[in-house]
Structures are given as structure tokens and as C-alpha cells.
């Protein structure tokens, strides 16, 4: 891409006219520019600045108060426990969606009848709203009517129906995160599958002459070569899981056992009307997302050439 200093260059094939400013490209991009500046860049800058101000609906002149908003956040037990939960959401979600994505991609790389129908079914959870996926999985985890309880009972593995959600942090986060993994794994699979399909077959043929087993071929040839695909899959999983809202909100309500940082941002801002803390929390999640995404990139990504 070159910097556009040659504005007004004559269109090839047309007679050269006198040099004048060519306004058309700016006209074409101006609606996009207005949206990006007005509803993305300016609000993002506002979040950064407002994090360091006292923002109070009842006391409009907002005052600079340094790190007070951040101090308040780290004194709030509900927010601290939501940070622990969110870390667990990220660990469970990124690990599960990546492992499942690799497994599904390896299956779908092969050619068999019905493969394209299977891909159509695979992407279904990606296309559904997170809120409704919450409803769908409440139906599975529920203590009175859930599928899991019913199956365990039918198999005589439990005497009485159990309460799974909301009893302890780890189980609650795990069960809620499975719902989000259900939603984000299709995209991980597609990204890893695309990387898999770039690997030339000759590499495997060379491997089989050496007598490498399937597993050896997988760890020795496949895995190193799909690292770019795995990286992109993991980054999208980091962004989704760090900002998780819909699934815990629907499955567990405001209960502390599953509350995420984004949920706390919503409660603090729109229920307690503490906008300063809301801005500071938004900034913390944003910075955490950028740092962890960059960390994954550094750790997992290796350039691949065939």
C-alpha cells in the first residue's frame, strides 16, 4: 500500500486534464469515516480519559481524580471475584475451543460424503444469539428439568437431581464456559481448517516413506504448520471469553459464582450509576484483551513457508 499523495492522477485511458483535486474517493469513504471517528475512535478516547475522572450523574462537573476509580475497583469484592471468574473463563474457553477446533478441523480436512453438510451443521452455533444459547443450555444444566440430571438419573448414576449452577465458582464457570465454547468453536475450526488445507500433500507422502505413524505425522508435520491458524483462532477466543456477558447473564443472573467483569461493568454503570468505575473497568478489560492477545501472538505464532 502506498501513501496517497498522487491524488488527482489522470485515469488511464482518458485524455490528460488540468490537475484538480479529485473529490470522489473522499466522498466514497466519508460515511465510513464519520462512523469510525464518531462512534469508535472518539468514544474509545473518551473511555480512556474518563477513567481518570470523577463522573457522577448528579454532580455534572466532572473532576480529575487520578487513580481513584481504579482504587475503588480493587476494593470492591464483587468486582475482584468477577476478575477471578473471568480469568477462569478465558483459560477454560481458549483451551477447550482450540483443542476442539483442531480436532474438528482434522476430521473435516478429509474428503468424505456429506462433508459439506457437516460444515453447514458445524457453523450453526456460531450463527445463533448468545442469549438464546443461554436458554438452550439452561435446559441442559437445570436442577429440576435439565437433560444432564435426567440422563444421570436414567443411567442410575445419581439418586436425586443435583444443583449444578451457582453452587461453586469452578463448576459454575466451567458449565457456563462450555456454552460459550459451543458458540466460538465453529470459527476456530474454520480458521484452523483453512491453515490445514494449505499444507501440501507431498509433505505427508515424504513422511509416510519414512514410516512415520499418523500421530507422529500430526505432531511433527501438521501441528507446526497450522500455528498461524491456531494463533488467529486463539486470539478470537481470547477476545470473546475476556468480554463474556450473554451466557453468564442468562445462565446465572447476577450471582457472584459466575459473574464476569463485563457483567460488573454493566451493573456498576447502569444500576449503581457509578460511571467513573464503569469507564475504568472498560479500560482494564480493553488493555487486558490487547495484552493477552499480543502475548498469544508472540507465544504461538510462527511464520510458515511451504
Amino acid at each position: 500500500m502506498t501513501v496517497g499523495l498522487q491524488a488527482g492522477r489522470p485515469v488511464p485511458g482518458l485524455p490528460r486534464r488540468r490537475k484538480r483535486i479529485d473529490a470522489l474517493p473522499w466522498l466514497l469513504v466519508s460515511p465510513l469515516a464519520i462512523f469510525i471517528v464518531g462512534l469508535a475512535l472518539v468514544p474509545a478516547a473518551y473511555t480512556i480519559i474518563a477513567s481518570f475522572f470523577r463522573v457522577d450523574e448528579l454532580d455534572p462537573p466532572t473532576r480529575f481524580n487520578g487513580l481513584d476509580n481504579f482504587v475503588h475497583i480493587f476494593q470492591n469484592g464483587a468486582i475482584l471475584s468477577s476478575m477471578g471468574n473471568t480469568l477462569l473463563y478465558v483459560l477454560v474457553g481458549v483451551a477447550l475451543s482450540t483443542l476442539l477446533g483442531i480436532f474438528f478441523a482434522v476430521v473435516l480436512k478429509q474428503k468424505f460424503r456429506g462433508r459439506s453438510a457437516l460444515i453447514a451443521i458445524l457453523i450453526l452455533p456460531w450463527a445463533l444469539p448468545g442469549v438464546v444459547e443461554g436458554i438452550i443450555w439452561v435446559n441442559i444444566w437445570d436442577a429440576n428439568t435439565g437433560l444432564l440430571n435426567s440422563m444421570l438419573k436414567s443411567l442410575n448414576l445419581i439418586e436425586n437431581y443435583q444443583v449444578f449452577l451457582g453452587t461453586n465458582h469452578f463448576v459454575t464457570v466451567l458449565l457456563i464456559e462450555i456454552v460459550q465454547v459451543w458458540q466460538i468453536t465453529p470459527l476456530s475450526t474454520l480458521l484452523i481448517l483453512a491453515a490445514l488445507q494449505n499444507i501440501p500433500d507431498e509433505l505427508y507422502e515424504a513422511g509416510s516413506i519414512d514410516g512415520a505413524s499418523s500421530w507422529r505425522a500430526f505432531t511433527g508435520i501438521t501441528l507446526p504448520l497450522i500455528r498461524p491458524g491456531i494463533t488467529v483462532a486463539m486470539v478470537q477466543a481470547v477476545i470473546a471469553t475476556l468480554n463474556v456477558f450473554d451466557q453468564p447473564y442468562v445462565l446465572n443472573g447476577a450471582a457472584a459464582t459466575g459473574s464476569s467483569v463485563t457483567m460488573q461493568t454493566y451493573f456498576v454503570t447502569f444500576q449503581n450509576l457509578d460511571f467513573g468505575a464503569g469507564y475504568a473497568l472498560s479500560l482494564i478489560i480493553t488493555i487486558a484483551t490487547l495484552i493477552i492477545s499480543f502475548g498469544v501472538l508472540k507465544l504461538v505464532y510462527r511464520p510458515v513457508e511451504f
Binding site: P31, F35, P129, V132, I140, L147, Y249, I285
Partner: protein, 278 residues
């Protein structure tokens, strides 16, 4: 392929099918039962006497719950359709300029668009609420659609930029030699050639818009603009709606995106891959 790979494949196919379809089947199963049947222990794994009563209640019945489900279904369709149309038009114009023209500020704006994709959407939640309050657009279709458009434009522009850049320039140059203006070239040559990319962008935008929850939760204050996702979450939160009826509402909410995803999956796969792998 050796024998072991063969087994891995069929176990994998079975696992993908069960993992994806069992949860959806279970909700469908629940939605076709009466509430008395739903509370049986252990549960009925197929509906003993399948009934569409729950769907009839929601779609044609009277009362607070059916009314809000119907109104929010209308809202979500209007909001998603409007957001899709506006996003596709704006991103097509911009992608054409980025792919085929050189102008001052091109690189700066292009990188600004890419940078916004790296940020989580909720970074801007509170300022956007403030802006919409200031403009008097809280609880209006316009406000919700503007926010959706701003959120989806970067990805849409990126997908269409990649698609248009991959088209051969020669056809457009031939058009310009014939004396067509650049807008005529865009409309009569580029748009038809880029049709698959435009369809991908439209479908992905529509599905993203359909899944939105936190933004409309903040930007809608009553049933006049609340999309179906917000209404369903609030019904669930109040614990007054029986499981059978909740499941029917869920099935209604996933019917349109599910049909789109299954029938048009090719466009989705292509769009997502050209939007993510670069």
C-alpha cells in the same frame, strides 16, 4: 490413509453432530411438550404427545408475554435489516475507494478501520450510551441501527476490500476506456463481480446484528425498540415463564439465523475466512 485414521474420522463426525445438535434438539423437544410433561423425572427424550400449543400461544395468544415476544420479533427484524442495508452500502463505497483509488489520508483511515477491529466492542459501550442520550436517540430504531452499523463497518469494509482487491483491474479499465464514469464502473462492473463478497458481508452482518444483546439492553428502555434477545433474557430472569414456553420462544429466536446459516453456509465460511486470515 491407514485404518486408524478411518476410525478417528467417524468418531469425529459423530462427535461434531452430537455436540452441535443435541442442545438444539433438546430445546425443540421441550418446546413441543406441555409444561407438566417437561417437569417429569426422568424427562421425556421425545415428546409423548407433540403439541404446537406453546408456539400458538406466543404467536397468536393474548397477554403480556406473547405481546412482547411478537413486538420484539418485529423490532429485531427491522433493526437487523436496516443495519445490514446501511452497512453493506457504506462499506461497498469505501472498499471500492480503498481498493482502486489513491487519495490523501487513505492509509491513515484504513489503519484506523483495522485498529477498531482489535478493540473489544464493549470498550465504547458507556460513551456510546452517553452520545445516544445526548442526541436523543436512546430507545429509537435509529439509535440502535447507528450503533450496529458502527460496530460492523470495519469487518464489512475489510471483507469487501479483500474481495475487490482480488478482482482483475483490466475489466474496469476497459469500462473506463469506453467512457464510463467511475461510479458507473462501480455500479455496472464492480458490484456484479463482487456479488459473492457482498452477499457474504450482508449475511455475516445480519447474523451479528441478530445476536446483539448488551448494546440493545443499554440502548432500549421499553418494548417499542427491544429486540427479541433482550425480551427473552428478561423473561428468563423473571422466572415466571414455564420452560416449555421459554423453549418455544428460543426456537422462534433461532429459526431465522439457523435457516440462513444452514442454507448459505458457503458464503459465511468464505466471508469469515477472508475477514480473519490476513
Amino acid at each position: 490413509m491407514d485404518r486408524r485414521m478411518h476410525w478417528v474420522r467417524w468418531i469425529g463426525v459423530a462427535f461434531i453432530l452430537l455436540w452441535t445438535l443435541i442442545p438444539i434438539y433438546w430445546t425443540l423437544n421441550t418446546s413441543l411438550q406441555t409444561n407438566a410433561q417437561v417437569t417429569a423425572k426422568p424427562a421425556y427424550y421425545v415428546p409423548p404427545t407433540p403439541t404446537l400449543r406453546n408456539f400458538a400461544t406466543l404467536l397468536t395468544g393474548n397477554g403480556d408475554v406473547p405481546d412482547s415476544v411478537r413486538q420484539s420479533l418485529v423490532n429485531i427484524i427491522i433493526e437487523c435489516a436496516a443495519a445490514t442495508i446501511v452497512t453493506v452500502v457504506i462499506s461497498t463505497l469505501a472498499a471500492y475507494a480503498f481498493a482502486r483509488m489513491r487519495f490523501r489520508g487513505r492509509q491513515l483511515l484504513f489503519y484506523a478501520v483495522l485498529a477498531t477491529m482489535a478493540f473489544p466492542a464493549y470498550t465504547t459501550l458507556i460513551p456510546i450510551y452517553k452520545i445516544m442520550t445526548g442526541l436523543g436517540l436512546v430507545n429509537t430504531y435509529t439509535g440502535i441501527v447507528l450503533v450496529y452499523v458502527s460496530g460492523f463497518l470495519p469487518l464489512a469494509t475489510w471483507i469487501l476490500y479483500n474481495y475487490m482487491s482480488s478482482l482483475p483491474v483490466s475489466i474496469e479499465e476497459a469500462g473506463q476506456v469506453d467512457g464510463a464514469s467511475r461510479m458507473q464502473v462501480l455500479w455496472h462492473l464492480v458490484v456484479p463481480l463482487a456479488r459473492p463478497g457482498i452477499i457474504s458481508t450482508a449475511i455475516i452482518t445480519f447474523l451479528f446484528a441478530w445476536g446483539q444483546f448488551l448494546f440493545p439492553l443499554v440502548l432500549s428502555s421499553d418494548i417499542s425498540t427491544e429486540p427479541l434477545t433482550v425480551v427473552i433474557a428478561s423473561l428468563q430472569g423473571r422466572h415466571v415463564v414455564p420452560f416449555s414456553l421459554m423453549s418455544a420462544a428460543g426456537i422462534i429466536a433461532i429459526a431465522i439465523p439457523a435457516v440462513i446459516a444452514v442454507l448459505l453456509n458457503r458464503y459465511i465460511v468464505n466471508g469469515l475466512l477472508s475477514g480473519s486470515v490476513k
